[in-house]
């Protein structure tokens, strides 16, 4: 994964997210330096990214939130539905399921997988829950391409293997475990330790 392409896409997703929140506050416009501060990047980076998107703000009014949002949506094709599964329904998995359930505009949560028999076979927040042993079969049947992992670290490689075997090409890991995947599979690690460490580091500088 080349550095730039990943970082550029990541920033565009972050811009979109930030603008959605700003739009909810009914603010018509936002300045590059405001965007920069929220995302811990430089205003130059923001302006450069916008130029690439062929979007130009005004020095006085900044960027038009609604217009810029449209630009970003189009780029990210977030309108397309992407079929997602979540594996593991412990506290974290349940929290993630609830969180992502409210974001289904750009994807749909097609399945949840769990070992606990008490939830298997039930609908959890509108998502059918299957036994972990069925991952490959269900992922294939439902044509799921993205998996969210919220299982104990020790179980994650097995779960990832099952997802990949079923056809998953993107994995979002909420587990502290490096997993091995084929070259064509993209893995995003959510490193909660790093997030807290950076917060601590900068809280000391401030």
């Amino acid at each position: 994964m080349p550095n730039t392409s990943y970082k550029v896409v990541e920033r565009r997703c972050q811009y979109r997210r930030l603008l959605q929140q700003v739009a909810q506050e009914n603010r018509p416009n936002i300045f590059s330096h405001e965007i920069a501060r929220h995302l811990h990047i430089s205003p130059d980076t923001v302006r450069q990214d916008m130029r690439v998107l062929k979007y130009h703000g005004s020095p006085n009014a900044g960027y038009q939130v609604a217009e810029l949002l449209e630009h970003l949506q189009r780029y990210l094709h977030v309108t397309a539905k992407n079929r997602v599964a979540i594996v593991g329904l412990g506290n974290l998995g349940k929290a993630l399921l609830r969180y992502y359930k409210n974001k289904e505009s750009f994807f749909s949560l097609e399945a949840a997988f769990e070992l606990d028999e008490s939830v298997v076979g039930r609908m959890i927040l509108g998502t059918p829950c299957y036994h972990t042993s069925e991952i490959t079969k269900i992922v294939e049947e439902k044509n799921i391409t993205v998996g969210i992992i919220a299982v104990p670290a020790t179980a994650s490689q097995k779960v990832v293997d099952a997802l990949v075997m079923g056809g998953v090409r993107g994995i979002l890991m909420f587990t502290d475990m490096l997993v091995k995947v084929p070259e064509h599979v993209f893995v995003e690690y959510v490193d909660m330790t790093t997030l807290l460490e950076t917060t601590i580091f900068f809280s000391r500088l401030s």
Copy 2:
């Protein structure tokens, strides 16, 4: 927050985290391109960062995991104890408390805050739980400098204000809400929507 300084620190925390995991696999060394792939950055960035840390790998053996870890630890002073509080003990908060409880080497979880009277006054996983109305008082008493927010979006600004009033200078937000803080306070937003969007985006390219 200047782009570079933030990004450099973030990467050093990520290197440290990755190397800890590699060390657990009893691997003595790792190559820059392996590090690069895991963190979605370029091998050049990794090598450049290591040069700045005055750490040089060998073309044949890559980097010595144990040695490099020491370098990074020293830089990040992660040995210093930092006093942290977590606000909100719903599914996400409980998961975060359990997760961070096992990472207490470089910080200590001094307090948890929750509205639910059934947990207030109890020890949750070894951490005392107080009512949310006591945030400012307890944070001040215990000299807590970092807060982890896992409350509903609508409650987050009030909670952040209480933490800042008590002396918190670093905030890790697991809530989808932009909050206003004084200049001296560092806020890290964990944008779970962006994480899933980037994963989806690259799963389509792959």
